[in-house]
Symmetry: C2
Subunit: 310 residues, 2 copies
């Protein structure tokens, strides 16, 4: 049987999954990323986890296991170099050459990209974007990420870092962003941005008790300020999505991540705003859809999907 390994490299945990040809995760393991400062040591332990999964699977299948490769979704993961470049949220510093280090242990394809690109590719290979030639994935979370597929290929651009629509500037001279600039989409439609909007509308200071999840629950209870918050976020995201359509005219824009789970309180104003802001020649040509992958599987499936890239 043929398997690939998908890896979700986060600042706290590294999640590994053994994935079948048709996108079932049959085994999972994880290790504490933040326990490591030495990358060589990290990869030694990482490859032990890989070997254990493969050995276990061989025992389960009762036949040889064929490894298609290792796909890694990581913050600042660079597709062209196979390296993680100076990711600020990792305890391992500098440029981490995954491909090179893994090849000291095993001769298998290693493909790396950032997490939002991986999510987009997961949707393409295993989810709702199967067969689409042009689509965009927006991931809402701590930040706002995006992955873009044009002509059936993930857009990496000249640097490997293309698809950063969370840092397209929505409002010139808008909210201060962690990137040092002002008005990025992320400052409005990330979990933090949503909380800020709610607190501004309510006239209260931002505090850890107010989360985007809570604002979602309040909206479902009919709280007017929570509803107004999602309406505002929907309007902002709808504008950003309509602008993205002028670039690549996708068949669909997918949405995933915690804040998107709120459902209709966001989706209804989002779709209305999108239609309102969409250039008339694109009317009806692009759907807004929720990711069809499970929230706890998308990172691993997306990373594994990177190995299917032509």
């Amino acid at each position: 049987m043929k398997y690939s390994i998908g890896v979700d490299l986060g600042g706290t945990n590294t999640d590994l999954g053994l994935v079948t040809e048709n996108g079932n995760i049959v085994q999972r393991r994880n290790m504490a990323t933040n326990a490591y400062t030495d990358f060589a040591l990290y990869i030694r332990d990482f490859m032990r986890e890989v070997d254990l999964m493969l050995a276990d699977q061989q025992a389960i299948d009762g036949q040889a296991v064929q490894l298609e490769g290792i796909g890694v979704g990581a913050p600042n993961g660079n597709f062209y170099t196979g390296c993680v470049d100076n990711a600020p949220n990792l305890t391992m510093k500098g440029v981490l050459d995954f491909a090179k280090e893994i090849h000291r242990y095993r001769d298998t394809p290693v493909v790396l990209s950032n997490d939002a690109n991986a999510a987009a590719y997961g949707e393409y290979i295993y989810g709702g974007a199967k067969g689409m030639r042009h689509f965009i994935m927006f991931t809402l979370g701590t930040g706002v990420g995006s992955g873009i597929v044009v002509d059936g290929r993930l857009v990496h651009g000249s640097t490997g870092a293309a698809g950063e629509l969370g840092h397209a500037i929505l409002y010139q001279h808008g909210r201060k962003c962690t990137c040092g600039r002002e008005g990025c989409l992320e400052t409005y439609t990330s979990a933090r941005g949503i909380v800020q909007t709610y607190c501004e509308l309510k006239g209260i200071p931002v505090s850890p008790e107010v989360t985007s999840k809570l604002i979602g629950e309040l909206a479902h209870q009919g709280d007017p300020i929570a509803l107004k918050t999602w309406e505002t976020v929907g309007d902002q995201l709808g504008l950003a999505m309509a602008n993205a359509v002028t670039f690549s005219a996708p068949e669909a824009i997918f949405l995933m991540g915690g804040p998107a789970q709120v459902g209709e309180p966001l989706l209804k104003p989002l779709r209305e705003a999108f239609d309102r802001y969409l250039l008339n020649i694109f009317a009806g040509s692009c759907q807004i859809r929720m990711s069809e992958l499970k929230a706890n599987e998308v990172a691993i499936l997306g990373a594994a999907a990177l190995l299917k890239m032509k």
Copy 2:
């Protein structure tokens, strides 16, 4: 010898050019587009012009002429269908099937795209973007057009109409656009948008005497309001270009068209704004450059270049 024919289809004139393999226009002809309401008649006369150019060239060369194909750059030109779809500025109405109609006369490849896409591809095949895998062309004129190359391929999107960055919304609730929406980049950085900004800054009504060319001349004479106008336009265009970089991380963004000819009064504030608005991970990765094709050749060369598409 091998030649292609590049066609610039405008509402008033149709310009045809016979183009050599390395991008020299060796013959030109033109016909009055607006003299026709019957498309079949138009194509009959169009093909006469084509035949005349080929016959003349055969006499000049003293040997058989090989035609690589006919490339057409046209408003609303659809790459996928080979048709011009309901172009508002043409006297010939409805869907004009160039490929089908031309093939009644001659069995040769026919490729069609909109004018900005053709300009981008012309830059790629014959101009400053040779060998680049990722770049964007902005055309400033009556409107603002764009053509986008990703991974060496022109982005047409799912509908064929991708690359409409002139209609990305720069300012929500901004200036009214001819497309019926508000705040499109085009309302600020087209010739008309530039005139409007100048007149607003000067506190005078918009009139036919004020043109972007005049505002360019005034800027070169040191007129402070004209200089402020170009500074404003540079800021707006720089923001739009920085946003475009978050999409496809191009190696370069090219600029062409009448208003861009003003030079430094626009280019200096444009480059400064671009650097200021660019996400730090892209710093230094993307140049802003002027088109290297001649203004009176780009439309024909771009149309001919479409035939080189893989």
